[in-house]
Symmetry: C2
Subunit: 342 residues, 2 copies
């Protein structure tokens, strides 16, 4: 009986009644204030304040069809690369008074599909997606249905989808050249699943660097897969390698979190190898420079990636159609003390 009935949100009709005008006028006050005489406008604004009226976005969008919300789906919200990119997105969107809604697919195609559907149902004005796999089918269908989509951190194989990415092959090559230049001839790559393109590309870059040195990639490069791209998974996968003889002396990790896991595992199991194992990470996250052994890493312009992607999403060509484009940023090798000579 004391069941508190939720007070119904007040609608534009309530406001109109209180202000003694028609709903059309209230709508005009909201959207084209200059079309309304000042006295009337004040009365309406007063009524809005008194009722603490908040317009219903569903109703507005249903009729007007427009929305200033952009959706983004990243692989893992805990990965600093993605959060930094998300900040870039937000920063660009804020300039256009748009807002970001962020979701994390956890590298699970099913979750990705759920969020894609959710955003489409809500009619977002654009979508930024870091795809979980190679199957762009769902995204292409989405684009065909008129949802302007930009691939994040993945070059688009088609003109139907725009993209902003970083050249991962170049990044892998930089890491490889660096390690080869230090004299290493056996390089272990701690890589993620090949379903993730970044992982494949970074390996390919490493192999290309080896070839350029006139060596055989199959001899030099040994790939070890880790199931999850975090420190724990990397540590677990690296542990058995440390028991081998000889233990790896040059390790290229698919990201910095994995590199941190490798360092942790070396310190725990074979501390004598600490200063004698070259480690190169990827992403150059903020704390890479602060680690027990400051980490050599391939830096990606994460903020720029997000910013540029949002920019692409918002820009229209002369005809008012969404602009299409493919942007590829170049990574940069940051050398610190973790990459020791052979």
């Amino acid at each position: 009986m004391p069941r508190t009935t939720t007070p119904r949100r007040s609608s534009i009709g309530d406001v109109a009644r209180l202000a003694g005008v028609s709903v059309g006028t209230v709508s005009n006050v909201l959207n084209r204030p200059d079309r309304v005489a000042e006295a009337t406008r004040d009365r309406v604004l007063d009524a809005i304040a008194r009722l603490s009226f908040v317009p219903n976005a569903s109703a507005r969008q249903l009729r007007a069809g427009t929305l200033t919300t952009v959706g983004a789906i990243v692989l893992d919200i805990r990965n600093p690369f993605f959060t930094e990119a998300a900040r870039g997105v937000e920063d660009r969107l804020a300039l256009a008074d748009h807002t970001l809604m962020l979701a994390s697919s956890d590298d699970d195609p099913e979750r990705e599909a759920r969020y894609l559907r959710l955003f489409e149902e809500h009619g977002v004005s654009g979508l930024l997606v870091v795809p979980t796999g190679d199957d762009l089918g769902p995204l292409l269908q989405l684009a065909a249905r008129g949802v302007h989509t930009v691939l994040l951190d993945m070059p688009s194989p088609t003109d139907a989808l725009s993209s902003v990415a970083v050249d991962d092959v170049a990044g892998g090559r930089m890491a490889g050249e660096h390690l080869l230049g230090l004299g290493h001839r056996r390089i272990t790559m701690l890589n993620g699943p090949h379903t993730i393109r970044q992982c494949r590309d970074r390996l390919a870059g490493l192999q290309r660097a080896v070839e350029r040195h006139g060596l055989d990639p199959d001899e030099v490069v040994r790939e070890v897969r880790i199931p999850t791209l975090d420190a724990g998974g990397a540590a677990a996968a690296f542990a058995p390698l440390l028991a081998e003889d000889p233990a790896p002396r040059a390790v290229f990790c698919v990201n910095d979190l994995a590199a941190i896991g490798v360092q942790r595992e070396i310190r725990r199991r074979r501390p004598e190898l600490l200063g004698r194992t070259a480690i190169v990470g990827y992403d150059d996250i903020e704390i890479a420079a602060e680690l027990a052994t400051p980490l050599t890493s391939v830096r990606q312009p994460a903020h720029d990636v997000g910013y540029r992607a949002a920019d692409l999403l918002l820009s229209r060509d002369a005809d008012g159609n969404p602009a299409r484009g493919h942007v590829v940023f170049q990574p940069e090798l940051v050398v610190r003390s973790s990459s020791v000579p052979a």
Copy 2:
């Protein structure tokens, strides 16, 4: 002229026409499939597939009023504590087939207000907020308007808002007792703005620990404010202290990122003080154990905080009203080598 007119999204009416049924039937197929004969249902499903029909969430919500989306506003998406909490939220919501939309206020009340309004306009079924300041007015109004709201990482001063928080006074006290136990009698606290409650509480906890030791907080504790809670801001604020004589020998940082900044600054300017300055951080982020000097830190159960908050948001009492509650988790001190004796 080649202006590609966006193909209009197909509606439930299009589906009905193609399947040769009424819109009501299509709606039934979508929401109560058991009410529809199998043959009819198959025809409708076929039409849905052929048109790649996606229901319009705005229309649905406008009429039905329900939504399975929850909004969350955190202070900074780059702070691992918040992203970990966000994962906790997502994990709990997924169980109930709800989805999370995440936004970051950047500790800016204006941005916070914008997102609050956005989420309210969209009629989210609940809201998780880490408030930017002490002014809960807007949130109380929101709650009064029927938006179920849970304060994240802040104990609620009122029963109108639920809350899930960690006891920051206890955390500050733990840090203080640890440093005092190590013999330190001058403690510098690198703190954030007092507009943030966490910052005030952690300082208060530190002061209380000093009192318990029979000492005068004003003599022992020196507070230095940093404008932003990241490594860069902390490093900048700490630099002048390093020029003083004597330089600080015990530093309690309001979070781990700040502690990392302090370590960086010491290493850069006074490397001789490296092993002789006790540092305690807060949050125990994943890499705290991997730093050049592994960091003593106060651990917060971030994932649990998010999970529990989402739980509170979803739970209803026997009358079907949203449950109210106040949960306070206890932090835990993790001692590593950064906290050296005096």
